[in-house]
């Protein structure tokens, strides 16, 4: 009886270690700096912004009627330049992409689009970044998936690539048809 008790007591540190190891192993795949969007399942916040091309104001109704992406970008953002090629591919496939030009200068942005190509149907011009705050933007680039009713389905922070597109965006676009 004493022998089994001793083994039992000796194994406690081992059990604790194994539990900790599992927890920490899982923790390795955590991304604590990433914030989940508060807007998933909620409608696009109301806004009224001019576009890069003109001063005519547009509002959130541009998202109604089809699945679309809202891509938050700026000329000062290096990763935006990286994801630009992929966005151009998506646009060529027929994906509707709206841009939110974040805290940028109109002229610089227009030159950028001219030089690198324009995959956007239109670009909201958010010079002060106030509308971006309503979206909960905290890192550029960000891409939001909006459904035909104007409800936000997903947000990706960081450059958009094929893996994320296939794993996170496409499945969410099949559901509501």
């Amino acid at each position: 009886m004493f022998k089994t008790l001793k083994i039992y007591r000796l194994s406690i540190p081992l059990v604790v270690f194994l539990l900790l190891a599992v927890l920490l192993w899982q923790g390795l795949s955590n991304k604590p700096a990433e914030l989940p969007s508060m807007l998933i399942g909620k409608p696009v916040p109301a806004f009224q912004l001019a576009t890069l091309q003109s001063d005519t104001l547009v509002n959130q109704t541009i998202f109604h009627g089809q699945f679309s992406l809202l891509n938050v970008w700026a000329t000062w953002c290096v990763a935006c330049r990286v994801e630009h090629e992929f966005l151009t591919e998506l646009a060529q496939q027929g994906v509707v992409i709206y841009g939110l030009n974040y805290r940028d200068h109109r002229e610089a942005a227009l030159v950028w689009l001219n030089d690198y190509g324009n995959p956007y149907q239109l670009n909201l011009f958010d010079a002060q970044g106030k509308t971006a705050i309503d979206f909960g933007v905290y890192g550029t680039p960000e891409t939001y998936l909006v459904d035909p009713q104007g409800i936000i389905r997903y947000r990706h922070v960081g450059a958009l690539d094929n893996t994320v597109w296939e794993q996170e965006f496409l499945p969410r676009m099949q559901v509501a048809l």
């Binding site: 508060m38 970044g129 705050i133 909960g136 905290y138």
Partner: protein, 135 residues
């Protein structure tokens, strides 16, 4: 004893110095002192979501400047502290609060240290008792 007191005083003064430093070089004008007090208190409770180890008071990130601007604007509109923190939580989530709220999801976070302390105390008591018996 004297050395201990000196070390403690030094430690406390360093702690105090840390609390007063702030990267917010913005110049905000307030209608009343009370608003200014609330403003800086709020900034100390809100996290910069870009430099996530800093409060809005300390961070130099452009987004932090924008959010300070928002807090200032909301204060000017007469919002309460709760309304202002709500405004930010609606957009950025609970993480924007520097102190995590006490909710079902955070009970473990808040209470775990106390449990660990209690368990540790129990273990110490058990070990000491066993040693005394051995004597």
């Amino acid at each position: 004893m004297k050395r201990l007191v000196c070390v403690l005083l030094l430690g406390l003064s360093l702690l105090g110095a840390g609390m007063w430093s702030s990267a917010a070089t913005d110049n905000y004008v307030f209608a009343e002192v009370q608003q200014q007090v609330r403003f800086y208190a709020l900034l100390g409770e809100l996290r910069c979501v870009v430099c996530q180890n800093q409060t809005l008071a300390d961070s130099n990130a452009p987004l932090a400047a924008d959010l300070r601007e928002e807090v200032y604007r909301l204060l000017g509109e007469g919002k309460t502290n709760a309304e202002i923190t709500d405004y930010l939580v609606t957009r950025y989530g609970d993480f924007v609060l520097y102190n995590p709220p006490f909710k079902n999801t955070t009970y473990l976070l808040w209470l775990a240290p106390f449990f660990c302390l209690i368990i540790g105390a129990i273990i110490i008591v058990m070990v000491v008792r066993r040693q005394r018996r051995a004597l």
